[in-house]
Amino acid sequence: MNPLSLFFKKQYAVEDKIQRLLRYLEDMGQLYRGAYEAYLDGNYDDFAQLNEDLNKIEKEMDDLGLQIQMTLMRESLMPDSRDDLLWFLTKLDKVPSSFKHSLGAIAIEKPKIPQGFQDPLKKMLAHTHDAVKALAHATDSLFTDLRAVRQHVEEVGRQESEVDKVEYKLLRTVFENETFELARQYQLKGILKQLGAVTNLAEDVADAVLILATKHSA
């Protein structure tokens, strides 16, 4: 048993909860990719099931986030660190919401994915998944080893820029294609924007992680 755990029981308890939160985040990233790919492959039942699983996890993550916030408000941590963490958790909370809204839009709109869009979209999904994983690692480093934060944050940035490139290409294709009706063009644009928004958010949160790491390592 680590003798320090006697002194830092409260801190360790918050750390454990944050670790669980990050595992949920990674699971959501996996489910999001799986659900989206299932839709692209036409496996609508799988899509529905994975979307449901994602919603369940999103709910659990929401509850856990609230628990952490309550713990931080009630006890442990110095005010400075507490305020920083509350600010950060509020930011992080937007990532699972973006997964939910992106899949929710697909579930409601059931867009017809044009021929040739599947592979680039899967590429975007792979980069999105990697960005979320890197974000989870960056956040994990914020609580385990501040020195490692930067490299993970940079990885999030790289993945985000890959997503942007594919997104831009697909958007051009959508609007250059004269056979698409305007309504369809805007529907596809919405879908692409929502997919791209996940990595944009991940980058925003990663920047917040870097700010906190810099502040607390000096």
Binding site: M78, P79, D80, F143
Partner: protein, 491 residues
């Protein structure tokens, strides 16, 4: 049974202790409590316990320097000196000027010296005044160094945010405990130092190995008064200090508390002095320094390291002004208070002392390197005050401040009779068997001047010899002088 008037007189020391606890504890735990890094009850408990421990176990060193500056020799005088200092601190605090008991008590002692026409040892005064400059400077340097090292260390270990938070909190508590111990050790001299020469408690012996001296009992009581001050009134001050220093990061707050504690410890630790002396290094004077000065110095040190832009210089100037005004007000209050206590309340504020320049005294002067040419015209003259004596002597021969102190010491008439009963009843813990033998050989003898007892003991045994010269002998000599001072009081 203690005389109730003694207890009444001691209340002013307790009041001063209370105000020290109420105000100076904020320098130790203010940042941590004010910014809610540490709970007030936790801080107060730790602070109270460690202040008492520091006062009891390490309080003697700094108290001796205060004694040198002026030996307030009557309980009434000590009462007024402590009361004037306490009132000044309270007044300044109400005006919003963060001052320390150190400045106030120095002013009070000078006030007593002026009132009683006693000689003020300028070298001791300068030594204390110089620490008012050295203390914040040293604190600033230590803080800058410590902050740099702490930053490197934090970057190197790279622990996570939450653990770092926990470690910082623990470090703040430990630094606070160290700070409270140092505060007790260093500043107890301010609270009870003036009562040491007139300590009203008999020495207590517990079994063979453990005894508590009169001064230690005083320091224990003073330490408890400080602890009460911490519990009853320091919360508000801590909250103020904490919120004023909110721009400090937790790490910087820890560095500020730690640097303050190190400085206070440096100026209070006899063991460190001994270690330095053994290594033939210059020693640090054991002087009561201001914890406010130490904290302000530390914050400036950290601020300067970061470019100095965030330092609020007007506030610093205000604080420095407070440091200069405090001793003056305290001196004036003490002087006026002594006048009323003596003439309206008919209380003894100074013991009558007589100084005689006998032939033997003049011979002693010569032996101690004081120029005596021309002093024969003062032979057998008596003086009723030490200031008058030094003035008369220095009008004939030039005297350094140190020599002035010696002239006072050697001319003071105080008849000592060495009796079997008094030897039997005294605390012999600090005396070696050879020293005790030498004392026993002097049974039945009377000495008109205390130093004659010291000289006679030194003639019988070299273990009573004051060697003089050199840093290494400083500690030995101080111990001998402490033992002799005990004998002078006892007989």
């Amino acid at each position: 049974m203690l005389d109730p008037t003694v207890l009444i007189f001691l209340t002013s020391g307790l009041f001063l202790g209370w105000s020290l606890g109420a105000n100076d504890a904020a320098n130790v735990f203010g940042t941590a409590v004010g910014s809610r890094m540490v709970r007030f009850t936790t801080a107060a408990l730790i602070c109270g316990v460690f202040v008492v421990l520091g006062a009891f176990f390490s309080g003697t060193g700094a108290a001796l320097t205060l004694g040198k500056l002026g030996s307030v020799n009557a309980l009434g005088g000590s009462f007024m000196a402590a009361l004037a200092a306490g009132l000044t601190v309270l007044w300044m605090t109400k005006l919003g000027l963060p001052v320390s008991t150190s400045q106030a008590i120095i002013g009070s002692i000078i006030g007593w010296n002026l009132f009683s026409d006693s000689y003020t040892d300028i070298s001791s005064l300068l030594k204390i005044l110089s620490t008012w400059i050295i203390c914040p400077l040293l604190s600033a340097v230590i803080a800058a160094l410590l902050f740099t090292l702490a930053k490197i260390f934090v970057r190197k270990i790279g622990v996570g945010l939450i653990r770092m938070d926990g470690y910082t909190r623990l470090a703040l508590i430990l630094a606070g405990a160290f700070g409270a111990y140092s505060l007790g050790a260093n500043n107890i001299a301010n609270v009870m130092g003036v009562f040491v020469p007139v300590a009203p408690f008999p020495d207590l012996q517990f079994g063979q190995d453990f005894s508590v001296s009169s001064a230690q009992q005083l320091f224990l009581v003073g330490g408890l008064a400080i602890a009460v001050g911490v519990f009853t009134y320091s919360k508000r001050v801590m909250m103020t200090v904490g919120s004023e220093l909110m721009t400090l990061t937790p790490l910087a707050a820890w560095v500020a508390v730690m640097s303050h504690s190190i400085v206070l410890f440096l100026f209070a630790s006899e063991r460190l002095e001994q270690l330095l002396a053994n290594m033939s290094l210059p020693t640090i004077p054991l002087v009561p320094v201001s914890s406010s000065q130490a904290v302000v110095g530390a914050v400036i040190g950290i601020g300067m390291l970061q470019g100095g832009r965030e330092i609020q210089w007007p506030r610093i100037y205000g604080i420095v002004r407070g440091w200069a005004i405090t001793p003056m007000i305290s001196c004036l209050l003490c002087f006026i208070g002594l006048y009323f206590l003596q003439n309206v309340f008919q209380q003894e504020v100074q013991r009558e002392s007589h100084y005689l320049l006998s032939t033997r005294v003049l011979e002693k002067f010569q032996k101690e390197g004081i120029e005596t040419t021309g002093l024969n015209q003062l032979s057998d003259s008596t003086f009723s005050s030490s200031a008058e004596l030094v003035s008369a002597v220095s009008s004939i021969v030039p005297l350094s401040s140190q020599q002035g102190l010696k002239v006072v010491e050697f001319s003071l008439q105080n008849s000592l009779l060495i009796t079997q009963e008094k030897i039997a009843s005294m605390d012999k813990k600090g005396l070696s068997s050879i020293q005790l033998d030498a004392l026993n050989q002097l049974q039945g003898q009377t000495f008109n001047f205390p130093w004659q007892l010291g000289d006679s003991l030194a003639e019988i045994s070299s273990e009573w010899e004051v060697r003089g010269g050199g840093v290494k002998n400083k500690l030995h000599d101080r111990k001998i002088k402490q033992k002799l001072a005990y004998l002078y009081r006892n007989f």
